[in-house]
Amino acid sequence: MTVVKVTGERAPLPPFGEEHEQLRESVRRFVSKEIAPHVDEWERAREFPRELYRRCGELGFLGLKFPEAYGGQGGTHLHDAVWVEELARSGGSGGVAAGLNAHASIAMPPIFNFGTEEQKQRWLVPGIAGEKIGALGITEPGAGSDVASIATRARRDGNRYIVNGAKTFITNGVRADFLVCACRTTEAGGHDGISFLVLESDMPGYEVSGKLEKMGWHSSDTGEITFTDVEVPAENLLGEENGGFRLIMANFAWERLVMAIGAVGAMDRLIDAAVAYAGEREAFGRPIGRFQATRHRIAEMGTKAEAARSIAYHALRLFHSGRDCVREVSMAKLFTQRALLEVADEALQIHGGYGYMREYGIERAVRDARLGPIGGGTDEIMKEIIGRTMGL
């Protein structure tokens, strides 16, 4: 006899509505069929096929939030959020998600938001189609959290810039066709001396100097790129010269929301796995989920995930409505990444020895999740931002 009535038919939680359900279903189907079965292989290969970009482009998944004029779907960030959440929930690969989302949600938005029509035709349109792969290049060996201190130098020389420097930890960095690259365009650099230039991988002097091996995100190619006297046409300047810092800040919100929403989907996947395993695996005469400690552990995981969903959706709603939401986005990023890491670790524990085996995908989720509190803005930076919004 159970007194507790579980949740039954339910409406989509705001900001999502019935109108997003169809997209959710089609993403789920696509990812389950064309991504999930190959993840293991792509993780071993340390890359997923380039063809996947084209396939996602063909199905419209890379252009959900971009206008039809550029080959996009003419939707909103909410549609993109549906894609991100379902890709995580059904795909089970932080690496594949990183590769696709860095392209569509980190590299392309600056071009859409700050580019000229000509620039949009050159990079946004083929990017949405999945024919060209983009990456965003800000982080350097000597500058991560301290974005203003980047050193890559772009010196103006007539109708071009000469670029020297290096970037690292660049998602898609190994095979990107174009790089939205943050450079110092004044001697001093800093908040008022940074500009964005779009570099192309076939420019002389642009070299992928390393393909980095990582703890997780194995199917995502992470590159170290060096620039030796790379000549970049002045038409490749994105936005205003020396106005790049504003562009960087503008981009962070969506990047962080993508991570938050992705974490929500990933947690759902892990909880489903843990519940299923705990319901089947028997020990001492019963399914292990019937031991109170395990039941409680799953309850903790579920609680964390739902709280994470609530704060992530709230930040998303504010972002979508055009409201100032630096505080909420930073909180959502901070909270969701830690929550996912904890949930992944708990799922690993519940799966016992099998959790440690590659085959079950749980240990991959743990390794993938570990980057969350670091990439896209460390926990410490998030706390600095939040603290400052409180006047400290």
Binding site: V3, G17, G302, A308, R309, K383, L392
Partner: protein
């Protein structure tokens, strides 16, 4: 303003209006403003005094006069006819009282004792108890817990045995908020002592007569001294052959457990709201301190470790708040989201306790001093992980909702 779309039962939130949160309309915000002002004017100045004397019954009457006790009850019973979100607003406004005990006493009235009477009562019962309760003319209590049964509600031993057209009640209840002064109590009894869940029946029991004297057989055996919530009087109540007319049965015989399980949901979510609001008040107070208090040449809030503590507290609190709001939306939308309500209560209680602890730490020695009131908040808030369902019971309920 939220509108229902064609053919859909779901209330579509209106995001364009630029409101702070989609569950609250301008009417909610107007109430928030006026109720908060009232709390700050008529309760807050007395918070220290009431720690010693307990809240005065007159403030309940005053709240009733102003309509604050009947926000979610229909106008025909003297209520304001508002939706469920008003109870969230009310809980948040009460957080400005500085008196956790007073908040709890009010919450028992509005969110624990009166709702079952509204949902299950006969018209006569509503006339005799709901309306006076909404007016603040009668103080209500809810009697579930006993010395030998807390989490295990089905294990209660207070009996109600039929005798003619009355029931005779015998037993003891404990930890009863408002118990020492309540005019009536919604009492959870066993009408079938041999059974567990299916032997439970609710009664509305008058505890005091017209002159305020205890009814025959009813004794307040003890007023309990507690770690916190000092402004609230908490009683151990004894029932020795207390007679109750059969018409005072509330709901169906043998269905009391299910009635109460239902009641607990709304109560828990409001408790969760009280927790995030309480956490916000503590953070505000402590933030002010951190900006003023200097050490090693600067306000202590400018030390990174302290700044980060605030960031963490604010983030946790925001997550609890959004979780409660999202769940309230589900609840008001006609869902019965037991899992999420239970999660929200669990999560918010812990956040409030963690925030209280961190705030005491940030205030340093002053955090330990009565005068600064943060130590009171710490003691008050600690109950939330126990009352209205312990953390452990919450975890069990959630776990079982996954089929485990």
């Amino acid at each position: 303003m939220a509108t229902a779309s064609e053919g859909s039962k779901v209330i579509k939130p209106d995001f364009e209006s630029g409101r702070k949160h989609f569950i609250f309309t301008q009417e909610h915000e107007d109430l928030r403003e006026s109720m908060r002002a009232w709390v700050e004017k008529e309760i807050y100045p007395h918070r220290n005094e009431w720690e010693e004397t307990c809240w005065p019954t007159s403030i309940m009457r005053r709240a009733g006069e102003l309509g604050y006790l009947g926000l979610c009850f229909p106008e025909e019973y003297g209520g304001q006819g508002g939706d469920y979100f008003y109870s969230i607003v009310r809980a948040e406004c009460m957080s400005y009282s500085g008196s956790g005990g007073t908040n709890m006493a009010f919450a028992v009235q509005t969110d624990m004792a009166l709702p079952p009477i509204y949902m299950l009562g006969t018209e006569e019962q509503k006339r005799r108890y709901l309306t006076p309760g909404i007016r603040g003319e009668k103080v209500a209590a809810i009697g579930i817990t006993e010395p030998g049964a807390g989490s295990d509600v089905a294990g209660i031993r207070t009996t109600a045995i039929r005798d003619g057209d009355e029931y005779v009640i015998n037993g003891t209840k404990t930890f009863i908020t408002n118990g020492p002064r309540a005019d009536f109590i919604v009492l959870v009894t066993k009408t079938d002592p041999g059974a567990r869940h299916d032997g439970i029946t609710l009664f509305i029991v008058d505890l005091r007569d017209e002159d305020g004297n205890p009814v025959p057989g009813f004794t307040v055996t003890s007023e309990l001294e507690k770690m916190g919530m000092h402004a609230s009087d908490t009683g151990e109540l004894s029932f020795e052959d207390v007679r109750v007319p059969a018409e005072n049965m509330l709901g169906e015989e043998g269905k009391g457990f299910y009635h109460i399980a239902w009641e607990l949901q709304g109560e828990r979510l409001v408790a969760a709201a009280g927790c995030h609001a309480g956490a916000e008040r503590m953070i505000e107070r402590t933030l002010q301190y951190a900006k003023e208090r200097e050490a090693f040449g600067r306000p202590i809030g400018k030390f990174q470790a302290i700044r980060h503590k605030f960031a963490e507290m604010a983030t946790k609190t925001e997550a609890a708040k959004q979780f409660t709001y999202a769940t309230a939306w589900r609840f008001a939308n006609g869902e019965y989201p037991v899992r999420e309500i239970t999660m929200a209560k669990l999560f918010a209680s812990r956040v409030a306790c963690e925030v209280a602890d961190e705030c005491v730490q940030i205030l340093g020695g002053y955090g330990y001093m009565k005068e600064y009131e943060i130590e009171r908040a710490y003691r008050d808030v600690r109950l939330n992980r126990i009352g209205a369902g312990t953390d452990e019971v919450m975890l069990d309920v959630i776990g079982r909702s996954y089929g485990l």
